[in-house]
Symmetry: C2
């Protein structure tokens, strides 16, 4: 908990940026929302604590959170960027229900390995990947029958 906050603080210090109250608040609100949050949603949550914070500051801080390794952007194909905690989390991909939009975090080391090999076979040095699996979740399938 303190760990992540400290990492953000140190990142800002290293870049000679200031740890302002707004940045601190946005970090805190982001950090204890466990969901995959959009800038709009985060902005609304932040406003509950301090209505004077502007949305430009939320966008700007979200960018800093990503650069510092605290947050990671994901895109579920619903037209908005979403952000999830990336510090102290191991890598995972997402399984998304196209009906209720719930998502499950998944990871298969065999898939990860094969992705590496696939890239290498084409002479690429792999630096990252995005994998989204779309389907119908058990809950929705049950309701449909």
């Amino acid at each position: 908990m303190q760990e992540a906050r400290k990492q953000f603080f140190q990142f800002l210090a290293r870049k000679k940026l200031k740890f302002t109250s707004q940045r601190g608040l946005i970090f805190d609100v982001f950090w204890h929302i466990k969901d995959h949050v959009s800038p709009e949603e985060l902005y609304n949550a932040v406003k509950q604590n301090d209505p004077r914070v502007g949305q430009a500051t939320v966008y700007r801080t979200l960018k800093l959170l990503c650069e510092s390794g605290i947050a990671r952007e994901v895109n579920f194909g619903d037209g908005v960027a979403r952000f999830e905690p990336a510090f102290g989390q191991s890598h995972h991909d997402h399984l998304i229900c196209t009906n209720c939009h719930r998502s499950v975090e998944v990871m298969d080391p065999k898939i990860e390995k094969l992705q590496e090999k696939l890239a290498r076979d084409h002479g690429f040095t792999l630096t990252g990947h995005k994998l989204y699996l779309f389907g119908i979740c058990p809950h929705c399938r049950e309701k449909a029958r």
Copy 2:
């Protein structure tokens, strides 16, 4: 007439939609651009043949091309939708150079199988997926040293 053009024609007929000259032209221009084309790029290419075509029509037709299985949308993370031929093409994913933005089409049946299994293990019925591999291509790596 090409196979694909016929399929588009039949799709329109089935939906009681009209095969207009604009739709025909947009299909033709799309079909012989081999690249992953954005709506803007397609619009410009179409205008070379008929400057009177509006961009709204390009967007609308692109949607029809996707519905009919002629085109498929991909998203390389550069802020625009891109479209590629989907008819008579087997499924593939993309390996994208983050430096020069060139892309390579790749596919690994083992990865595909493991995705199925991963979804099934979580009780999901898999309906689709998006996999983008990002890295540095051989060409760019060579130039960098």
